[in-house]
């Protein structure tokens, strides 16, 4: 699945739910699916700043592509970072750095998070982009 297809799949998944509670349930499911985060990567420098709950993001470059692992102590936040990891892990730094992340607006994620949480989402996106820029 290429990046565009991965984003379209998320938009399609979200369009199936009318109620935000169902969307949360979907995010919680994504959070639970997330691959286990390595204990040794639970470090201060991998914490994403600007999130109310703690969010860790670890990245690794292999064969010109970036692979992400993430974790959070709050499950909905974990679902959100899991969604980002599922879309962007395994892409090239150019793809990630050049993406506009606008599919997140399409699914209405930002508007449905409290301002503090939306700030956290912005921090997650910035961290992904910065990591991609540095890996170019």
């Amino acid at each position: 699945m290429d990046l565009q297809e991965a984003k379209e799949k998320i938009v399609e998944d979200f369009s199936m739910f009318d109620e935000w509670l169902d969307k949360y349930e979907y995010l919680i499911g994504l959070g639970k699916e997330l691959e286990e985060y390595p204990e040794e990567a639970r470090t201060e420098d991998r914490l994403i700043k600007g999130c109310q709950s703690r969010v860790w993001l670890d990245s690794e470059k292999r064969d010109g592509r970036l692979y992400f692992k993430a974790d959070s102590d709050a499950i909905i936040t974990k679902g959100i970072i899991s969604l980002l990891v599922s879309v962007y892990s395994g892409r090239t730094p150019d793809e990630i750095a050049g993406d506009d992340f606008s599919f997140l607006d399409e699914i209405g994620l930002k508007e449905n998070l409290s301002p503090t949480r939306a700030g956290g989402l912005t921090s997650m996106i910035e961290t992904l982009k910065r990591t991609a820029e540095e890996a170019k």
Partner: protein, 403 residues
């Protein structure tokens, strides 16, 4: 008056969120405004707007009368001995800062001690820390037991000839346990130490009589008893207020001003520099009346139901468990095993329920309890048993979604 009639007094209670009826359970943060309060504010702003205590014109006289009538209403409400003991501030925080500064200037010196407790709101910690660093004094902290009760024996052991003041919450905004303030005052007075009571929560739930409590200061906010935001009260015994220097300098707080020196007005004007909250303060009159009506019609069915439901749920740990039947108010802070408080608050929000999650401005207490944050549901007398039942049912659903 039945609950329906009472709820009609608060327009915000019939709001909808996400198409669902709003269930407002964040009353410990702020209560909803009564319509009579809004009406008073509109009247002050549209018909009675003039600066107070200054001009001779009719509008100014009327505005001054309204403002001072609010002082009388507060005096009656909390049973103060004299109207000069009622100082208007912008809220509990401002009231405590005023005492920490002015009392501190006059009575606290190097090596002196101030006592607070582990369960205080940041507003009753930080002003004292600032005083201590200014005066090179020391802050001592009374321990809280695991069930949320203050350790009075520890308080007794901390009191020393160097203790200048003890500052304690009437009710912690996290634990919802009514502290034995009268007993604390007796203990401290026996050692000649005055007591400030942070009444931000106490004013809502306890019939406060400051002469009966015999406390030296009592601080509270108007917005927690349905009045306009930006209204606050500092009650202080006359003997202290007379001795304390002003907190802020400016208009209205002076007697005479020359460049050689200025003499100050007496309390309360001494502590009310600058243009006051002219439209806000008079809303305390209908707010106090509203608080009386609500108190008269309050029953403990919500308290009992929620307490019972939370206590018997094995997934839930409640902080602030009452030892006696009359010790608890309907402020419930708890954690859920395996579920983050933020996730719970977010899901409950989508169900139309407004609750608080996090540290509730009481970081030292969170550390003491060994948690990073809690979920808090705080009820007001206008909340119904049906709302409480919906909350418990929704909480169960939210927990099941998360674990």
């Amino acid at each position: 008056m039945d609950k329906d009639e009472i709820r009609k007094m608060f327009p915000a209670l019939s709001e909808k969120v996400y198409g669902k009826d709003l269930v407002y359970l964040d009353n410990a943060a702020t209560s909803q405004r009564a319509l009579s309060v809004v009406d008073k504010w509109v009247q002050m702003s549209t018909q009675t707007n003039a600066n107070i205590h200054r001009a001779v014109h009719a509008l100014s006289v009327k505005a001054t009368e309204e403002y001072e009538a609010a002082r009388d209403a507060v005096k009656e409400f909390i049973g103060a001995a004299d109207r000069s003991e009622i100082v208007f501030t912008s809220g509990t925080t401002a009231s405590i800062n005023l005492v920490a500064f002015s009392f501190g200037e006059r009575f606290v010196g190097e090596g002196d001690e101030i006592i607070v407790t582990e369960e205080e709101h940041h507003s009753n910690i930080v002003p004292w820390q600032m005083l201590c660093s200014r005066k090179k004094a020391e802050l001592r902290v009374v321990k809280v037991a695991d069930d949320g009760y203050l350790d009075l024996e520890h308080l007794k052991s901390l009191l020393s000839p160097k203790t200048r003041i003890v500052a304690v919450a009437h009710i912690s905004n996290v634990l919802g346990i009514i502290n034995p303030v009268k007993e604390i005052v007796d203990i401290c007075h026996a050692k000649g130490v005055p007591v400030l009571v942070d009444g931000a929560q106490g004013i809502v739930h306890c019939g406060v009589n400051v002469q009966d409590l015999d406390c030296d200061f009592y601080a509270f906010s108007g917005h927690k008893i349905y009045a306009a935001t930006g209204t606050g009260v500092l009650y202080g015994k006359k003997k202290w207020l007379d001795e304390m220097p002003p907190y802020m300098g400016g208009g209205e707080m002076i007697e005479t001003v020359t460049f050689e020196g200025t003499t100050y007005a007496r309390s309360p004007q001494k502590f009310e520099a600058g243009t006051q909250n002219i439209a806000g303060a008079p809303t305390l009159i209908p707010a106090i009346e509203t608080a009386r009506i609500l108190k008269e019609n309050e029953d403990d069915s919500v308290l009992k139901y929620v307490l019972d439901a939370l206590m018997k749920d094995e997934r839930i740990t409640l902080y602030g468990v009452p030892r006696g039947t009359n010790d608890k108010v309907p402020v419930f802070s708890f954690s859920v095993k395996g579920a983050h408080h933020e996730d719970l608050a977010l899901i409950l929000d989508k169900m139309g329920i407004a609750v608080r999650s996090g540290q509730m401005c009481a970081e030292p207490l969170m550390d003491r309890l060994g948690v990073t944050g809690l979920l808090r549901a705080s009820f007001a007398p206008y909340n119904t048993l049906e709302e409480a039942q919906y909350f418990i049912k929704s909480l169960d659903r939210a927990i099941n979604m998360l674990i």
